[in-house]
């Protein structure tokens, strides 16, 4: 189990995160949802070790994971604002990742449909295919926790179904996912649990049933719960 405990982060006078706490159980898919500027990306940066919190800590199976070296062994992170080497070909990037990690997953390349564009320069890829390449990087390892910041941006509805299926499949294989998702409709299709963040604070956390019960809105969609929770 991954425990995020009392994480706070300030940028000068701006409070980005204020005592954020929640837990992610092993083998689950946790969706971090919230309005723009709520602090979702900062939180994912801190969970993955790319920023240091001012206060609080991360625990994995009750053991503190404070050093970047330790987090790196455990977590694979795909930041939202990542532009993969524009002058590389898809094949060159895939080769580099495979050679450097020593991990090869032909099935992953097939599922992401990257083989047919292997000689294309990354700068010439559509947004959807660039996003697939980012997912290829995040999933090309044996790490237990996968943290993805806005993984569904740029996909058309058909592509999205493929990607959701891929994540579900990897989840079935035992990987834990933490996803920051902007579109609640997409989040509802895949996440087991949700943590709603607003203005750097956790508003609520739990499964959709728990949230419905908590806000007294039986059969409501995630979007309706979200609006109710923020009100």
């Amino acid at each position: 189990m991954l425990k995020i405990s009392n994480i706070s982060k300030r940028y000068l006078k701006t409070v980005a995160l204020d005592k954020v706490s929640f837990e992610v159980s092993e083998g689950s898919i946790m969706g971090i949802i919230g309005p723009n500027g709520a602090g979702k990306s900062t939180l994912l940066d801190i969970i993955s070790g790319f920023q240091n919190p001012d206060e609080g800590g991360i625990y994995y199976n009750d053991q503190p994971v404070s050093l970047f070296k330790e987090k790196k062994q455990l977590i694979s992170y795909m930041p939202e604002n990542l532009t993969i080497y524009p002058d590389y070909t898809v094949a060159a990037f895939i080769d580099f990742i495979q050679l450097a990690t020593g991990y090869e997953d032909p099935e992953l390349i097939k599922t992401l449909n990257l083989a047919k564009l292997k000689n294309r320069k990354i700068r010439h890829l559509s947004k959807g295919y660039h996003q697939r390449l980012k997912l290829f990087f995040a999933l090309s390892n044996r790490k237990k926790i996968i943290v993805l910041d806005e993984p569904f941006n740029g996909f058309d509805p058909v592509q999205l179904i493929e990607i959701l299926e891929l994540i579900k499949e990897k989840n079935r294989q035992g990987r834990t996912f933490i996803l920051s998702i902007h579109h609640l409709y997409d989040a509802e299709k895949i996440c087991h649990y949700y943590t709603l963040i607003d203005e750097g604070r956790v508003v609520t956390t739990g499964s959709i049933e728990t949230l419905r019960h908590k806000f007294g809105v039986e059969k409501a969609s995630l979007e309706q719960i979200f609006i109710r929770a923020l009100q």
Partner: protein, 441 residues
């Protein structure tokens, strides 16, 4: 293939196969060709009156006459353009977020930086390699190449290039944007020129004493054919300093306090190491003509002198002192590196302005002259040492070389056509292969 070499291959490719890298190498070819052509023309013209005059011919040395001016072009390119090639190597990784990709692979911050520095060093070697045709052509023209002196010159430029690389990485680690990093690194590099300019203009005594520590001042040793331990250590320390700063700044996993502590410790250690290395002045004259040494008999006699102390009642910015330093003191320091030199200040200075006092074994001699002809008799008399005869020594013949104008067109062909076209062909060939494959998809 080890994991680190996989990263190194990636970095080499990132620097060599970019348009910026290609343009820089082409610029190196054009500028080197132009500088070499101008230097050879001048050397050849001046040699006309020396080929039949052995005494005049002694002043003709290929390294200061041809190769130092040729490398002068490289100096400007390194200082003003190299940062534009080096900085993107790191700053684009930061801007595009791919540093997050690299650091999540089995590479540490140290591995990433080492791979980038190594790739930049290979790029430097490539620029030096592009100057190789100068030496080949010079030999084909029948010119003489003093290898030791040339080795010192090339080493100096490699060290200077590495300094520019280190400053570029530091700037790239410090700033988020490539443009800011480029301007900052050029500012740092040009600072050395400003201090030298200030020294020459005699702006302030502070600038004059600071000029001893500048990069350009230390590069001068290598240009003069002096293998200087102090200057080499200076470059090594300076490069290490900026590389370590870049490493610390790059580590986003460190908290601000920890970063500041490490930065402070690095600055203190660097200044300490620099101060220690400046205490020694181990220099060797590598020139064939031994132009930085006194005659063998004088050198032998000087080596017998125990402890020499010199009190200088003159400002460092005084042109007479500069003359004294260039023509006498620097040569003396090549023979005796434990001389104690005191630059007098205050009322004492004004009272005895222009005086030099030499002390050996408690005895002292005074003179207002800065010429070795006046100084040596005083020193040797104080030390009780006599100067022997310079017998059987080989006189440096000098190497004047007259080259016909028509022969010089080959320089233009090599540097303005052959090298640039080869570089473009390699670049186009590589990209053409990609475009063809892409169209086949």
């Amino acid at each position: 293939m080890s994991r680190l070499s996989i990263l190194l291959v990636k970095e080499i490719r990132d620097i060599f196969f970019t348009k910026t890298g290609l343009l820089f190498l082409m610029l190196v070819s054009f500028i080197t060709g132009y500088s070499f052509l101008t230097a050879v023309e001048l050397y050849s013209e001046q040699s006309l009156s020396a080929v039949n005059n052995p005494l005049y011919a002694r002043g003709f040395e290929p390294v200061p006459g041809v190769f130092v001016p040729t490398y002068g072009g490289l100096f400007v390119l390194f200082s003003l353009f190299l940062p534009f090639v080096i900085i993107p190597l790191l700053s684009l990784e930061k801007q595009n977020g791919t540093l997050a990709v690299l650091i999540q692979l089995p590479y540490s911050f140290k591995d990433i930086l080492i791979a980038k520095i190594s790739a930049a060093f290979f790029f430097l070697l490539m620029t030096i390699l592009l100057t190789l045709p100068c030496f080949i052509l010079w030999q084909l023209y029948g010119g003489h190449i003093p290898f030791n002196e040339l080795f010192v010159l090339i080493s100096g430029y490699l060290l200077y290039g590495l300094f520019v690389v280190s400053v570029s990485f530091f700037a790239a680690a410090l700033f988020e944007s490539t443009a800011n990093a480029s301007i900052f690194s050029i500012l740092l590099i040009v600072l050395s020129w400003v201090i030298d300019f200030g020294k020459n203009m005699d702006v302030s005594t502070f600038l004059t004493s600071l000029s001893e520590w500048t990069v350009t001042r230390n590069l001068k040793y290598f240009e003069q054919g002096i293998l200087s331990f102090t200057a080499s250590m200076y470059f090594v320390l300076l490069c290490s300093f900026f590389f370590i700063l870049a490493y610390i700044l790059l580590r986003f996993d460190l908290r601000i306090k920890s970063k500041l502590k490490r930065l402070f410790a690095t600055v203190v250690l660097f200044l300490l190491a620099l101060f220690i290395s400046f205490q020694s002045s181990l220099n060797t004259d590598m020139t064939e003509s031994h132009r930085h040494l006194f005659s063998p008999a004088v050198t032998k006699a000087l080596q017998e002198i125990p402890d020499l102390e010199i009190d200088v009642y003159m400002k460092k910015s005084d042109s007479r002192f500069r003359d004294y330093q260039n023509k006498f003191l620097n040569k003396l320091l090549l023979v005796l590196n434990d001389i104690k030199i005191r630059m007098m200040t205050g009322r004492e200075l004004n009272k005895n302005y222009g005086l030099f006092i030499y002390r050996i074994n408690g005895k002292q001699g005074k003179t207002y002259s800065n010429s070795e002809k006046e100084i040596f008799p005083i020193i040797f008399k104080l030390a009780g040492v006599s100067v022997g005869q310079d017998n059987g020594q080989q006189v440096f013949p000098g190497y004047p070389l007259v080259i016909k104008k028509e022969q010089l067109t080959i320089i233009q062909s090599v540097f303005y056509l052959v090298i640039p076209l080869t570089l473009i062909s390699i670049f186009v060939f590589k990209n053409f292969k990609l475009i063809r494959r892409d169209n086949n998809d």
